[in-house]
Amino acid sequence: MTIIFMSGTFDKAMAAMILATTAASMNLEVTVFFTFWGLSFLKKGKRYRRKPLLRRMLELMTPGSMKGLPLTHLNMLGVGPAMMKALMKKSGMASLEELFRTAAGLGVKFYACSTSCSVMGVEENDLIPETAGTVGAATFLGEAKNSGINLFI
């Protein structure tokens, strides 16, 4: 299974991680390609040093890591995600970070989109160690071609 994760929102990241862990548990090879807004998911945190003004502004306005992803709807300046996370915790649902670690443990591969990294000034050092590499569209499509399921989230 291959997934393009572009949206960069918490709820859609949950969907992507639930499907990735489930597919991996069914012995499918799973690759997730993080592009554009989705790149925030793989970031270690915010970095402002050695960046020109526009990129620093972008860094300021985008989430620094998977912990800071907004909700697609009802974000309410960050109140929405906090409420959603509290609700999930109360009902015993696995968190986004737990699902991500489970996916990584089951061998799911996480790739960062090279062009998004270049445009947004994200370097390999800015990405979490679970990132398998910074690759281009051809590498992703090479894997998608052999996968029976491809999702764009």
């Binding site: 862990t21 489930t22 548990s25 069914m26 015993g92």
Partner: protein, 82 residues
């Protein structure tokens, strides 16, 4: 082959996809032919385990609704897959 459980897995309180992930990890440590008993109360578990067992080649010997939720008996398949 008997259907006695070799290992028991408690997934009570777990939501999709945690029960099937736990089952996969448990079956990885078992030998082909051994039986895993899974207890789950996620309403999705009944159809999920049926589909998961089919996809992974681990026969689902029993799927039963109880007061607590569901009981599944899964035999680890011979194909070397989990």
């Amino acid at each position: 082959m008997n259907n006695n459980e070799n290992r028991r897995l408690d997934c009570l309180g777990d939501f999709c996809p945690i029960p099937v992930v736990k089952a996969k990890l448990a079956l990885e440590e078992m030998s082909p032919g051994e039986v895993l008993k899974v207890l789950a109360d996620d309403p999705a578990a009944e159809s999920d385990f049926s589909a998961w067992c089919e996809a992974t080649g681990n026969p689902l010997l029993k799927s039963e609704k109880t007061e607590e939720g569901f009981v599944f008996l899964i035999r680890k398949g011979a194909g070397g897959r989990t």
